[in-house]
């Protein structure tokens, strides 16, 4: 549920006029209050993660990261992100094309439904997949039924000990769910704002559908797409609640990086937990850096369009 918060907006210059400004004392006071509040909740925590991570020296730091359990968590997190992000990216482009370039009844309902995963608690996001694929869920009932609908399928799955919950597929599904709206949310308003005339012109001039998309639409929404993918990836790698429900927390097998952090923390290995956490904090900083850079690029793109 972060539509307003995640939309690209170019920075604007500050214009100070005497009639619409405050006395210097008030100004400094307000800046002080804002910075104190942000320090308490943002800056100090950020510094603390890295300080604590290196509290036992650089040797211990790399030893923690080289641990096979940590390594398997890192691999699993990357696996989940590598599957979830492209799928949701493809979905986002499809949804944006259908919604922004065509008129059809029920468009607003569809928009609201795409936003749904943002308003669902991560724990519930995990729970719904347990209910569908868990031992007591639809899949479990099917596999344990006396007379399943397709006996060969049930037998085939049972023979292979097919599992989704407390296994990797469940983690991937939960990750897909929580990152579902990111790319779509970013692209839809952007493509709606750009209208259809450029694409229609390309078609009239003889371009095929694909050519229109690759040469006209994609260059226009490039930065929005990259921005959506960055956010989607950050959330995919950092998701905790939903993955915690479906993973079963089997160390070395179904622990992702955030779950590994929890395990280390619960073992009172605080420095270890913060060492692994510093990886994700670094990812967050890279995400914010890329986001700022993309906003800058987008503003430059808008600028050239205005002057053109």
């Amino acid at each position: 549920m972060t539509p307003a918060a995640t939309t690209l907006h170019p920075p604007r210059p500050v214009v100070q006029r005497r009639t619409t400004s405050e006395p210097p004392l008030v100004r400094r006071g307000l800046i002080g209050v804002a910075l104190a509040f942000l320090s308490l909740f943002l800056f100090i925590p950020l510094v603390f993660v890295f300080t604590e991570a290196f509290a036992k020296g650089i040797g211990f730091y790399f030893e923690t990261l080289r641990d096979p359990m940590a390594w398997s968590a890192i691999k699993l997190t990357f696996t989940a992100a590598v599957i979830a992000v492209p799928l949701n990216c493809f979905f986002g482009v499809c949804a944006a094309w259908a919604i922004a370039k065509f008129d059809f009844p029920g468009k607003n309902v569809l928009l609201t439904l795409i936003d749904l995963p943002f308003s669902v608690s991560p724990v519930i996001a995990g729970l719904i997949y347990v209910l569908v694929f868990g031992a007591q869920g639809w899949l479990g009932l099917y596999l344990n039924a006396d007379h399943p609908a397709f006996p060969w399928l049930a037998n085939w799955l049972n023979d292979r000990n097919f599992k989704i919950i407390f296994a990797v597929p469940g983690i991937v599904l939960a990750t897909i769910f929580v990152t579902f709206p990111f790319v779509a949310r970013e692209l839809i308003p952007l493509m709606q704002a750009q209208g259809r005339s450029e694409e229609e012109a390309a078609r009239v001039l003889g371009a095929s559908g694909w050519q229109t998309f690759w040469r006209v639409t994609l260059p226009n929404v490039k930065w929005g797409l990259i921005y959506g993918v960055i956010l989607c990836n950050a959330r995919a790698m950092g998701e905790f609640g939903a993955v915690a429900v479906v993973s079963g927390r089997i160390r070395g097998q179904t622990n992702t990086i955030p779950l590994h952090i929890e395990a280390l923390y619960d073992d009172y290995n605080f420095t270890g937990a913060f060492a692994v956490a510093s990886l994700l904090a670094l990812l967050a900083l890279v995400t914010l850096g890329l986001k700022t850079w993309v906003e800058h690029q987008n503003a430059a793109l808008n600028q050239t369009e205005i002057t053109r």
């Binding site: 604007r12 669902v120 724990v123």
Partner: protein, 290 residues
């Protein structure tokens, strides 16, 4: 009206409508709608009396009060400070402003588990910030306000999570405010405080409310950043998602699902409210332009 109707019947110049809409609806159904329906399917196996009994259990009721109360307080504090942060970022220049502006989004980008252990360590009695709220006596007893493992700790975590929402909804509206309105008000004799209170704040109200609702809704479902700092003591510091998690760990799916339904219904109502608010904000902005 007539043009709108004829547009629908017009031959579509652009290709791919059926394909993209078809895939969108298919993927949405597969990933979101069918699994969400499972919650209501599972609940329907309970009778109404059983359902009511589960969702009104004392531990559940205590968790609702705590979750709603802490989320509301956190969103309220964020509304106040978020407005100040947005104001400072839009109106003033100061050293490091660009970095501060970028870092406001940190709670969106930082994984909740990292935020959780960091806040828990910082606000514990021995932590950098927690020890400022009291002192440790000769006997090793802590005197003062405890933050970690109390309801105050939950409030701290939820404030962190909701911080960007208000700033990022108010910021663009504040940027678009026409300075002529303020100039007119001050030339008519209003002092700066009156201009803010009577002219600026009313125009920011829809954005503030939207940001508040977004932060509140996010806080209601929050799990990862809260569990480490909360202590999770039943009836005292156990938020609703933790109650659901506990039932799941005991494989009591019916109980977990019933409480999840309560949360889902509240979230859906909030989502609807936010959409109405955003529609109101947009209408307000277009009215201003006209």
């Amino acid at each position: 009206m007539a043009t709108k109707q004829s547009r629908g019947k017009k031959i579509r110049v652009l290709p791919g409508f059926r394909l993209t809409l078809g895939f969108t609806v298919f993927y949405l159904g597969l990933i979101v709608l069918i699994p969400l329906a499972a919650v209501f399917w599972k609940t329907s196996t309970l009778t109404w009396a059983e359902f009511w009994h589960i969702i009104t259990l004392p531990t559940a009721m205590a968790s609702y009060r705590l979750t709603f109360g802490a989320s509301f307080c956190a969103a309220l504090v964020n509304a106040g400070f978020g407005l100040v942060v947005a104001w400072v970022l839009v109106r003033y220049d100061f050293f490091g402003k660009k970095i501060v502006d970028a870092l406001v989004d940190l709670p969106f980008a930082l994984p909740t588990a990292v935020a959780g252990i960091t806040l828990a360590a910082l606000y514990s009695q021995a932590g950098w910030i927690g020890r400022l709220f009291g002192f440790t006596g000769a006997t090793g007893q802590f005197h003062g306000i405890k933050v970690a493992n109390t309801q105050l700790g939950i409030f701290v975590a939820l404030t962190f999570i909701g911080l960007p929402f208000i700033v990022r909804t108010v910021q663009p509206v504040l940027e678009d405010l026409d300075p002529e309105l303020e100039e007119a008000a001050s030339s008519l004799g209003a002092n700066r405080w009156q201009v803010f209170w009577r002219v600026i704040l009313p125009m920011l109200t829809p954005a503030l409310l939207t940001g508040f609702a977004l932060a509140f809704a996010r806080a209601l479902g929050e799990y990862g950043s809260v569990i480490f700092i909360a202590g999770n003591i039943p009836m005292k510091t156990q938020i609703t998602p933790v109650v659901i998690m506990q039932e799941l760990d005991m494989f009591d799916y019916a109980k977990a699902t019933a409480i999840a339904v309560v949360m889902l219904v509240v979230s859906f109502v909030l989502l609807l409210g936010v959409n109405v608010l955003q529609w109101w904000t947009n209408r307000y902005n277009t009215n201003n332009l006209a």
